[in-house]
C-alpha cells in the first residue's frame, strides 16, 4: 500500500484550504487469510476512503476525508490510481495547514457485509504530506 503526493495550499477567508493530488496503489486482502481476497461470501461492498489526519493549534485532532470510493463485490480489489484529485474540499477549521509538516494520509475501508458486523479497517502504510509555509495565490484547480 503506497501513496505519493504533491500539495499546495490556498487561503479562503479565515480557513486554510489544502489541495492534494495523490496516487494510490493498494491491494485489499482479508487480514486473516493473507493472500485470499477480501470479497468472501459475506462481503457486499467495501467503502474506501482516504483521510488526512493532523494536529493544529486550534484542534488537537483533525480528520478530513479527501476521497472515497465504493468497491462492490466483483470489482477488482487491487487499485492502481494515479494523479487523483481530492473529491472533497480540504478545509481546515482555522489556519492549521500552513506550515504543517505532519499531515498523514491513510487509506481505510468499511467492510459492509450481507448481514452482520460493520468493521472499519485501516490499511497498512501511510504517507506524510508536509504543507508549505506560504500560500499559493494564483493556482487554477
Amino acid at each position: 500500500l503506497r501513496k505519493n503526493v504533491e500539495d499546495f495550499t490556498g487561503p479562503r477567508e479565515r480557513s486554510d484550504l489544502g489541495f492534494v493530488t495523490f496516487d494510490i496503489t493498494a491491494d485489499i486482502l482479508n487480514g486473516k487469510n493473507g493472500l485470499r481476497t477480501i470479497f468472501d461470501w459475506n462481503v457486499k461492498q467495501l467503502f474506501l476512503y482516504l483521510s488526512a489526519e493532523y494536529s493544529t493549534k486550534n484542534n488537537a485532532l483533525n480528520q478530513v476525508v479527501l476521497w472515497d470510493k465504493i468497491l462492490l463485490r466483483g470489482d477488482n480489489p487491487r487499485l492502481f490510481l494515479k494523479d487523483m484529485k481530492s473529491k472533497y474540499f480540504f478545509f481546515d477549521d482555522g489556519n492549521g495547514l500552513k506550515g504543517n509538516r505532519n499531515v498523514t494520509l491513510t487509506l481505510s475501508w468499511n467492510v459492509v457485509p450481507n448481514a452482520g458486523i460493520l468493521p472499519l479497517v485501516t490499511g497498512s502504510g501511510h504517507v506524510s504530506v508536509p504543507f508549505p509555509d506560504t500560500y499559493e495565490t494564483t493556482k487554477s484547480y
Binding site: K44, Q45, F47, Y49, S51, N58, N59, A60, L61, N62, Q63, V64, V65, D68, I70, L72, Y88, D93, S108, N110, V112, P113, N114, A115, G116, I117, L118, L120
Partner: protein
Amino acid sequence: VPPPSVPAMLSLDFLDDVRRMNKRQLYYQVLNFGMIVSSALMIWKGLMVVTGSESPIVVVLSGSMEPAFHRGDLLFLTNRIEDPIRVGEIVVFRIEGREIPIVHRVLKIHEKQNGDIKFLTKGDNNAVDDRGLYKRGQHWLEKKDVVGRARGFVPYIGIVTILMNDYPKFKYAVLFLLGLFVLVHRE
C-alpha cells in the same frame, strides 16, 4: 345434511375454546400476555443500557446510504461515550428539533484537547455533505446529536416497521392478531 365447510368448523372450535375457559383461565391468559409484554420491554431497556444508546436498533428510512443500506434494513447501534467519533464511521444522529434520525457517514472531524468534537456527515449516495440538512446556522454536529454508531446490520427485516408506519391499518391488524394468538394459545 352436508358437513360444514372447514373454515366454519375452525371458527366454531375457536369460540368453543373461549367459552370453555372459565374466568380463572382468562385472567391467567391475560397475566401471561402482560408478562410477555413486560419481558419484551425489559429486553429493550437492557439493550439500551448495554449499548448506551436510547435507540439501539433503528430502521433505515431512506436510500441515502445505498448501496450499503437500503430502506428497510435494520441497524444495530452502540453509543458508548468512550468510543471516539472518527471519520468513516456510520453514525445515526438527530437534528435538533427534528424527530427522524438520519444514518450517514462521518466525513470530517475537528476535536479539541478536552474531547469537544465537531463533525460533518454525508450520505454515501448523496452528492453533497449534510450541511444543507442541519439546522439553520448549524455547520457541525456534536456528540449530543448522536443517537449511536452503526456496528452491525441485517437487511430487509425493518420493512415491517415501515409498513406499519405507512399503513396504520396493517399495524392494528398485526397487533390484533398477536393479541388474539396469545390469549387463545393454551400453555
